[in-house]
């Protein structure tokens, strides 16, 4: 914690408890009196949204596990029984399925926000890396959860992803067989995935506690990137950010509810409502949308092992990012050149996601055939994903290291309060303002 605790136990019971287990003090210091920069914009509400997402997934998941049967002959039907016969089962299951997508929407916003405002830079490297660990665990959890309904895409998705490990030299095949517990994805695989899918969220919750702990040691970053200097720069977390996060959560839940109630299968694949059949692969294997950028990177590389390495490398970039970015300026608000490259980076990620959902040979511009370059036509998804993947890696490995040494950043304000105090007219701002318009 930064600074000393301001908690003062009021009643006798509180005093009694405080000398034995200061849990109320911990909650008070973390959630009530925690000094938070007063200029956090709506992009900073996604941490709270993510905590809610994790809570929703755990609660709905525990409920689903009460009705789900992890057996190849019964898994599909038990999910349908939840949808048809269990009281409000449709609600719980659609919340869980769409909740996964909402979780990833929120985590991507949260990560891009961190990238933009330089939240990975000293002294927040450990905070950032813990976030990357959470993201990795989330991906593992989501992948295994998607296998559980045992539909066509569940099964063949599991086949494709577990086969990735087969690309590793020498040990690859043994690892794959070990993961499967057999010679193909089958009942043992489903059973262990169910067990791990139940375990991992609690590991996520554990790392989330570390993530919040690290946050409370170094304090929040903020849109200016300038460190907190005085009490004037901060407000207590409660009520200022509880109400702001609460409002953002409520708006987020509106979007969540629109999916759950009115379009619950929009983010899923129709083929997953066909029971798994190991003898027939669906015509078009696609992962869930949140994996598409990595899937595109995988397919962009013609070599199996290299593809797998590039895909994992794309995630590894995030872990070493704090030492790749050489700029001393945190927020890109004061780095106009970096800002431009950042938005191209966001675009590259979206393009990768788009390519991941298409067949590699599909034309980008319909009907236009240009010329064959190496293994594919230049106007194909595979080439588009190669360009985007190249930019993805350059952003981390070339642009950020070099730019920090060469660019001329704008002047940063002396303190968080300075820009506000010099422009008093800007004080209270509207709800949907973009980050750039805010204090």
């Amino acid at each position: 914690m930064s600074g000393h605790s301001t908690y003062e136990p009021k009643s006798g019971v509180e005093k009694w408890l405080d000398t034995r287990l200061p849990i109320v003090r911990l909650a008070y210091d973390s959630l009530v009196d925690f000094p938070t920069p007063k200029n956090l914009n709506y992009w900073y509400t996604f941490g709270g949204i993510l905590a809610l997402c994790l809570g929703i997934q755990i609660v709905t998941g525990i409920v689903l596990a009460m009705h789900y049967v992890p057996h190849v002959d019964m898994a599909f039907n038990s999910v349908e029984r939840i949808m048809r016969d269990v009281n409000y089962g449709w609600l719980v299951r659609y919340m869980h399925a769409n909740g996964a997508s909402m979780f990833f929407i929120a985590v991507y916003v949260h990560m891009f926000r961190g990238l933009y405002y330089g939240s990975y830079k000293a002294p927040r490297e450990v905070l950032w890396i813990l976030g990357c660990v959470i993201y990795l665990l989330m991906m593992a959890t989501a992948f295994m959860g998607y296998v559980l309904p045992w539909g066509q895409m569940s099964f063949h998705g599991a086949v494709v992803i577990t086969n990735l490990f087969g690309a590793l030299p020498i040990v690859g095949q043994s690892i794959t067989t070990w993961l499967w517990g057999g010679f193909a994805v089958d009942d043992p695989t489903l059973n262990r995935f169910f067990s791990l899918h139940y375990l991992l969220p609690f590991m996520i919750a554990g790392v989330v506690i570390l993530h919040i702990w690290a946050l409370h040691v170094v304090g929040n970053n903020n849109p200016t990137g300038v460190s907190v200097q005085s009490k004037e720069d901060t407000v207590p977390f409660h009520p200022y950010y509880t109400v702001k996060d609460g409002f953002a959560i409520s708006v987020f839940l509106l979007m969540f509810a629109a999916f759950v109630f009115f379009n619950p299968n929009a983010l899923g694949d129709a083929v997953n409502y066909v029971p798994a059949n190991p003898l027939v692969t669906p015509a078009h294997i696609v992962p869930e949308w949140y994996f598409l950028p990595f899937y595109a990177i995988l397919r962009a590389v013609p070599d199996k092992l290299m593809g797998v390495l590039m895909m994992f490398g794309a995630i590894a970039m995030l872990f070493i990012l704090p030492w790749l970015d050489t700029s001393k300026v945190r927020s890109m608000r004061y780095r106009p050149t970096a800002k431009l490259y950042f938005f191209i980076f966001v675009l590259a990620c979206l393009v990768l996601g788009f390519c991941g959902g298409k067949l590699p040979d599909a034309h980008v511009i319909p009907g236009l055939t240009t010329f064959q370059l190496l293994d594919a036509d230049l106007n194909s998804m595979v080439w588009l994903s190669r360009f985007a993947a190249a930019y993805y890696f350059s952003y981390f490995l070339i642009i950020l290291p070099v730019l920090g040494l060469t660019e001329v950043p704008l002047a940063q304000p002396l303190s968080i309060s300075a820009p506000v105090l010099s422009h008093p007219a800007k004080a209270p701002v509207g709800a949907a303002a973009s980050p750039e318009k805010r204090g």
Binding site: T6, V32, D33, P35, V59, V63, M66, H67, R81, R84, D85, V86, N87, Y88, G89, L91, V92, K231, V235, P236, H238, P239, V243, G246
Partner: protein, 183 residues
């Protein structure tokens, strides 16, 4: 920080009605609690019996399979159901004890359908702690529960041992002379 409590915020503009401020915060808080409470019900109700479970809650049984003096046990709602074809002697012994000192006083007549004294249909779980009593055992020739020694007579009434109640009679109806529907 001194101004962590909203109502105590000293900075609010003069002339503003603090009660109105409080109202909106309280309303928002109540709405949050209401949302959680409203969503709690589906998460509680999901543990109640599901549609397919409820649909299987009744069984039909053909009585011609049970000889006089015998009892069969079938599964109904996950529990054993005793269907006992009583002999004249068993019926007589049950009626004889109608006015004995019973822990849970009931006449034999209310424990079977009118004119069907030979058919006794009971839920086969001991009213003590739910074990399944064995047929024909005990001091009264009805059932004996091996778990804690409850004795039931030929009408399924508790006569001795820790159980507080007679064996329960489920809802059932004769569809014909030889067919009953339970549940």
């Amino acid at each position: 920080m001194a101004d962590t409590v909203v109502g105590a915020n000293p900075e609010h503009a003069a002339g503003e009605d603090p009660n109105r401020r409080d109202f909106i915060h309280i309303a928002a808080g109540v709405a949050a609690v209401g949302a959680v409470a409203g969503l709690a019900w589906p998460f509680i109700d999901q543990m109640n019996p599901a549609g397919d479970t409820l649909a299987l809650a009744s069984v039909e049984f053909d009585l011609t399979k049970v000889e006089a003096g015998q009892s069969v046990t079938i599964k109904w709602r996950g529990k054993p159901l005793f269907i006992r074809h009583r002999t004249g002697a068993e019926i007589a012994s049950a009626i004889k004890d109608d006015h004995a000192a019973l822990r849970d006083p009931q006449t034999d007549e209310v424990r079977h359908k009118p004119g069907k004294a030979e058919w006794l249909i009971l839920v086969g779980t001991c009213t003590h702690l739910g074990c399944v009593p064995t047929f024909g055992g005990g001091d009264y020739g009805g059932w004996f529960c091996p778990c804690h020694g409850s004795h039931y007579d030929t009408s399924g009434r508790i006569r001795k041992g820790p159980a507080p109640k007679n064996l329960a009679v489920p809802d059932y109806a004769f569809l014909s002379d030889t067919k009953v529907k339970v549940g």
